[in-house]
Amino acid sequence: MSALLQHGGYEEESLRRVTGQLPCRDVQAGLLLSLMGPPHQYSYPSIFIYGHRSSGKSHVMHVLLKELELPHATVGCVECLSVAVLFEQVLLSFFGCDAASLLPRSPSLSDFVRVYRQQRSQCPSKQTRYIVMEKAELLRDADANLLPALLRLQELVEDNVTVVLLSEIVWDKFRPNTGCFEPLLLHFPDYSKGELQQVLSRDKHPSYSAEFYSSYINILLGVFFSVCRDLRELRHLAALNFPKFCEPLAEGKVKETDAHKLWRNIEPHLKKAMRTVYLREVSSLQWEQMQQTEERDTAAVRGLSAHTHVELPYYSKFLLIAAYLASYNPARTDKRFFLKHHGKIRKTNFLKKNEKTSNHLLGPKPFPLDRLLAIFYSVVDSRVAPTASIFSQISSLVTLQLLTQVSHADQLDAPKYKCAVSMDFICAISRCVCTCFLIHGSRRENRIVQVNGPFTSFLLKENVFFL
């Protein structure tokens, strides 16, 4: 494996250390090294490395630059709110803080190049200098001249400097309209399942054997690989869930080699992790605490989503249900559902073009306040007076972002709202208020119909679900 990284310009010992730190990335490291060439020679002015997150781009660059002790400046473009930060960082890394202080208050690119040239004539470079820019896609949002100038920096400052851009977005989306100097494009491929296994198994726990840990990683990958291939996330999940995996071993119930029992123990736990920790619904600390308290009855985890922790007052729940009905039912069906005696309904085949797609796919529609109140009064089964408390509950629903206000804030007499919650939330809420709803979905409309209370039974069509 070390045969790939042989280069005349660099010491063998440091190259061997580099190989040790870069598993499964030999090919890319070798290519980079050969492009960098011996340190005193000029290399290609700009290199663009792209690949998925956690595919090792920054890691390989950093290891190479640190171990081979090449002068470099690392700039995270996320930190560079203004270009001044970028310029200062580069000058600081290459020439020290005196050079950085030579920059004027809000430097332009012209000032940066001028100061660089001055410094370069004072201390010329014996080795290639590297400027590594991470998350380079943010450079597109800076001034239009920054990216083309950086790609040509070698020519502009007349120095042995190479700019390396790291990004997860492809170069085609970077190219400015009028063209620019094209950098050398390098792709860092994603890790395959085998390579992920190899890399993850390196973090083995000291008190357990390597095979034990790699069987654990195997199970973890089996659950998570089809959803997530990000090395960092997988490492995080592996570290969090390992204590649970070792639990039966620590209790003495199973031996290390008893794979089936271990799998049975950990698999539901990993499935639960996918719903919570992976989605960051609970923090890692909460997750670890949960594991320690050993709740066998799988109590609901207090997640971050609204439906697990918001407790609404009685009438607010009805208001929310009424808002959902108002958003997802077309207005002309209100008469049919919510009146006792609605008379004959003429079957109209007249459907607007948009209504052909189910309302559930297109999203909620806005409705005026009057319609909301009308539906509310027909849904609530007791007499409710239209007091200010009802209206204030509507405002608090808007603040909780369960309803969104669509009309302008100045319009006081006929505000319009939209329901911002999903069907699952409504189901959870309606369960609390103990009413029974029929959800009747056909291709043309989705109707939600209340069955109990003062209403008689309705005709049932296909696709009926009970709550």
Partner: protein, 362 residues
């Protein structure tokens, strides 16, 4: 580069007055984005900062004429000639009012001071960008450096770039190397690869990239270029970046992309949102009746957002405040053929996913 060579020759040739007298001001359109900055740069390059001091000038023209006056030598009869070189000339034409260009060309035309202006640009239509008053002061002298090589010349260029020059220290190695380069260029597969590159773009830089990648495979252990190296370098050059990124997606994300592709086929390119894609995906799951891909909606939302971060889908309009995330309309930024090609190369792709992708009716 041409300009630099000429200037260097000029300075070397005429060692007496002209060479030493000539002042050069180099401006670059990428760096000097504003006329003010350009003026400061001119002052600096003419070494006249202390002369200008803290003077405040009313207009650009005044400032420039002051600078040029200051260059007059002792006997006040002549002043030193100044050569202005403007790189990326088309970017200067985008400045407000084109003041810099106007004044420079004005000075050069009106013979107040011996000034020459040379502009360097890669746009052929740069004259269209100039205002009428600027254009009229331009002497309309253009030198076109257009290169239009034939394939034979292209091959000749490859040979010269790869070959070692005569003054290389190790003569024997140079001779061996040049011989191997000759055999390489005569190889049939190599010629095919070079012809493919020639057909896509004739310019020097893309040739450079190809040769650079090729040379990077040369090492002490293997001191010659083989045809396989060139083929590999060519493959790296022509690789489709988006297909490479598609290769690294998880299965769930790939299924979402296939669902989007079907939506695009059925609805002919109309934008979609997450709910529609999820619906399409659920239809696939119902048909196949395997529970392996039954993921919760939040997990699918996370996969969808990952695709958005990779810019494989893009929102139709940027008003994300009004609509919820699940209902925001998006467009797919990938082509049908790219997706199908990426599917072929995807490692361990389940057969039912492949079949779903190739079926006509989703």
């Amino acid at each position: 580069m041409l300009l630099k060579c000429v200037l260097r020759d000029l300075q070397e040739e005429e060692e007496e007055e002209a060479g030493k007298n000539l002042l050069q001001v180099h401006l670059n359109g990428l760096l000097q984005t504003d006329d003010r900055i350009a003026l400061k740069e001119i002052t600096r390059q003419l070494h006249l900062e202390n002369v200008v001091g803290d003077k405040v000038f009313g207009s650009f023209a005044e400032n420039l004429s002051f600078l040029l006056e200051a260059l007059k030598k002792g006997d006040r009869s002549s002043s030193r000639p100044v050569l202005f070189v403007l790189d990326e000339f088309d970017l200067f034409a985008a400045h407000k009012n084109q003041t810099l260009l106007y004044n420079l060309l004005d000075v050069s035309q009106s013979a107040q001071a011996p000034v020459a202006v040379v502009g360097v640009t890669c746009r052929l239509d740069v004259l269209e960008l100039l205002e009428k008053r600027v254009k009229s002061r331009f002497s309309h002298r253009q030198i076109h450096l257009l290169s239009d090589p034939t394939f034979a010349e292209y091959l000749g260029r490859v040979r010269t770039r790869l070959g070692l020059p005569d003054h290389f220290p190790d003569g024997r190695f140079a001779a061996d190397w040049n011989a191997s380069v000759e055999t390489l260029c005569e190889d049939k597969s190599v010629e095919e690869v070079l012809r493919r590159h020639f057909n896509s773009s004739k310019d020097f830089r893309s040739l450079h990239v190809l040769l650079m990648l090729c040379l990077s495979r040369v090492s002490v252990a293997k001191p010659s270029i083989r045809p396989a190296d060139l083929l590999e370098a060519s493959r790296l050059c022509f690789a489709d970046a988006k297909a490479n990124m598609l290769h690294g997606l998880s299965i769930l994300e790939l299924c979402l992309i296939i669902a989007m592709k079907h939506l695009n086929d059925v609805y002919e390119g109309e934008p979609f949102n997450l709910q529609m894609v999820h619906n399409e995906f659920k239809k696939f799951l119902q048909r196949k009746s395997n529970s392996m891909y039954n993921f919760d909606p939040p997990v699918i939302l996370k996969a969808f957002e990952h695709l958005q971060q990779l810019e494989m889908i893009r929102p139709v309009d940027s008003s994300s405040a009004k609509t919820q995330r699940e209902y925001q309309l998006m467009r797919l930024m990938l082509d049908h053929s790219q997706i199908m090609e990426a599917l072929q190369k995807y490692p361990q792709c389940p057969t039912e996913v492949k079949q779903w992708a190739m079926s006509a009716f989703g």
